[in-house]
């Protein structure tokens, strides 16, 4: 018996199969301009006769009509993070188009959350845009900033930060220093935002950026609490969906 969780995010769509104990399969595709196609594609790829329950989440969750249930990414992220590390009491997720902070109680239930969905600064999109200006590949960011001193990026807005970076480049500032400055800026902003919740315990860092050690380390420095992540963190929403699906399936049996 398996359950399927699919997370339709703004940048990537992720899906996992869960057997009640572990994740047995994962898949990730770009969401692109056709979120409906992406979410249905993953469903077709992964759904088989062993799958008893499917939960869709993410901003495109309504686009999968064949899902048994649709649950918001807040609840799914929380359950996914708690599955990956039962010691976490808060989740900071930097997504493609928004960022969120979620607070859990000791029973791993969501008790409060915040979403920053008004502004691209402080989201994955911000770093994407900036790396494009620097003409560097985000995938190599960890190596790229080794031994660098962060440049000071003060603009609060993606568009203005872009202008600021262009002038830094014109002044001959090292690209690695600028990149580290950008990382600092995004992590500082995220920590201001997350600290509006009464954070305690360790914080689970999810979203695409959590794959890079430099983001985890910088965020930890700004939040002042241990920040943990998992190689599976990008799948946290999909995992949470599959875990919730598993509980639903147990109940209906």
């Amino acid at each position: 018996m398996l359950t399927l969780g699919i997370d339709s995010g703004s940048t990537t769509t992720k899906a996992v199969l869960f057997d009640g104990e572990k994740i047995v399969k994962t898949m990730l595709v770009p969401t692109s301009a056709t979120p409906k196609q992406s979410i249905n594609y993953l469903y077709d790829q992964l759904h088989n006769e062993d799958v008893v329950y499917t939960v869709a989440t993410g901003y495109g969750r309504e686009l999968l009509e064949r899902a048994d249930k649709k649950v918001t990414e807040i609840t799914c992220h929380a359950q996914g993070a708690a599955f990956l590390d039962p010691n976490v009491r808060a989740i900071v997720d930097i997504g493609g188009q928004d960022s969120k902070a979620i607070l859990l109680d000791n029973n791993l239930n969501v008790i409060d959350f915040l979403m920053n969905d008004k502004c691209a600064a402080g989201t994955g999109r911000f770093i994407e845009v900036m790396m494009r200006i620097l003409d560097e590949d985000l995938q190599h960011i960890d190596e790229f900033v080794v031994g660098k001193t962060p440049a000071n990026i003060t603009s609060m807005c993606t568009v203005f930060a872009e202008t600021e970076i262009v002038s830094l480049l014109a002044d001959g500032v090292d690209k690695g220093d600028i990149a580290l400055g950008i990382i600092n800026s995004i992590c500082r902003r995220t920590s201001f935002f997350a600290r509006k919740l009464n954070l305690y315990g360790s914080i689970f860092f999810s979203g695409g950026l959590a794959n890079f050690e430099i983001f985890r380390k910088t965020l930890e420095k700004h939040v002042g609490l241990p920040v943990v992540t998992s190689p599976m963190s990008q799948y946290a929403g999909a995992i949470g969906a599959a875990v919730i699906g598993w509980r639903k399936a147990q109940k209906t049996r």
Binding site: T72, M115, D117
Partner: protein, 383 residues
């Protein structure tokens, strides 16, 4: 009085009342009955009614006129203030057009300064609302109530006798009681109607210019709903019971209520303007000094422009119990400093009652509907 129509039709009629009353306003104007436009719950409408004029709430809940308003006003200003000004400037609000006088109050900074600009289009009378519900504040506010009376007497060439004022106080109290009995139906679990319908009736009833008839209609509606509920009708399923608080809502801002109800919650109580905040308290009809009684009643309103705003917490605390609230959603209109800052106190207050709280900052645009749905759904999943 008995209702002939079905409940959905009655709800529909109430929610369309603002539009439907354009014609009756026009006819009343033809008969030389003056109109006085108002923007705020602090306006002592009894005085206006005692002058023989009709008080009417002016349009302020749509983004339609905001681009016009932004030609004169800063962009990062509260949408309610911008919308109000825009409707006035473009003459798109028929009630503004019909108004012989506009009454405003020195409530928030945005409104206060906007009224100065409004005075270029209309005769505007601004009442000086104190910031505190203190002895001095009560004294000042009573003077302002009397100043309004004098302004109306001069404007319309009438004499406002104490007898007329007392008569209108009684009528308004009956209106408040009718509305209160109506919204108290929401104490039932499951509630007998959707929160959207509840608001539609509260808002719509203020545009029924024959107050006596409005009271009868609201009472008849209450009786009908009660009767159908007693007979077993349950139009709304049992779901988490949500209180809405914060800035005045209505029009486009009702998207928040829609998002709550479409994602699994029942809005059973409005603490904000249009709901309990503006209706709950009665005026002491027997008071020796009726002007002081009117002043006291209005000044007691727990709006975030007051400092400290302890009456808001008092009312909220009572409503949380009476309506068996499961969670509170606060709506803050963008750039409304007083409600935005006060949301810190409200969050703490609600949390101390062991209830979940969520604050939504929004405006009149539809750009955040997707995010609103996610937030509300996640909040209700949490309950």
């Amino acid at each position: 009085m008995e209702l002939i129509k079905t409940l959905p039709d009655v709800f529909e009629e109430f929610s369309e009342q603002r539009r439907n009353s354009f014609m009756s306003a026009f006819e009343m104007k033809e008969k030389n009955i003056p109109f006085v436009g108002t923007f705020c719950t602090y306006t002592p409408t009894e005085i206006i009614m005692a002058s023989g004029a009709v008080p009417v709430g002016l349009c302020s809940f749509s983004d339609e006129t905001i681009p016009d308003a932004e030609q004169d006003l800063p962009r990062n200003l509260c949408p309610l203030v911008k919308s109000s000004y825009g409707f006035a400037k473009t003459q798109k609000c028929p009630y503004f057009y019909f108004s012989d006088l506009i009454v405003g109050e020195t409530t928030c900074d945005g409104k206060k300064k906007m009224y100065e600009m409004l005075a270029e289009f209309k005769d505007v009378h601004v009442m000086e609302l104190p910031n505190r519900q203190s002895v001095e504040g009560r004294k000042l506010w009573k003077q302002e109530v009397i100043a309004l009376k004098e302004k109306l007497e001069e404007k319309f060439g009438v004499e406002i006798t104490e007898e007329k004022v007392r008569e209108q106080v009684k009528l308004s109290n009956r209106n408040r009681l009718a509305l209160r009995h109506f919204y108290e139906l929401m104490k039932l679990d499951p509630p007998p109607m959707a929160g959207l319908n509840l608001y539609g009736v509260l808002y719509g009833s203020s545009f029924k210019f024959n107050r006596e008839k409005a009271i009868q209609e609201v009472n008849a509606l209450t009786e009908r709903i009660k009767k159908e509920y007693d007979e077993g009708s349950r139009p709304i399923p049992k779901r988490p019971r949500i209180m809405v608080t914060g800035c005045p809502i209505g029009g486009n801002a009702m998207k928040v209520v829609k998002a709550i109800e479409e994602n699994g919650g029942n809005v059973v109580c409005y603490e904000n303007c249009g709901g309990a905040k503006s209706v709950d308290e009665l005026i002491n009809e027997e008071a020796e000094d009726i002007y002081q009684a009117i002043a006291d009643r209005y000044l007691n309103i727990g709006c975030s422009v007051m400092t400290p705003d302890s009456n808001r917490l008092k009312l909220m605390g009572r409503l949380l119990e009476e309506y068996k609230i499961d969670a509170v959603v606060e709506v803050v209109l963008q750039a409304c400093h007083t409600y935005n800052v006060e949301s810190y106190t409200i969050k703490r207050f609600v949390t101390e009652h062991n209830l979940p709280y969520m604050c939504i900052e929004t405006d009149y645009s539809s750009s955040d509907i997707g995010q609103l749905n996610t937030r509300c759904a996640a909040f209700i999943e949490m309950l």
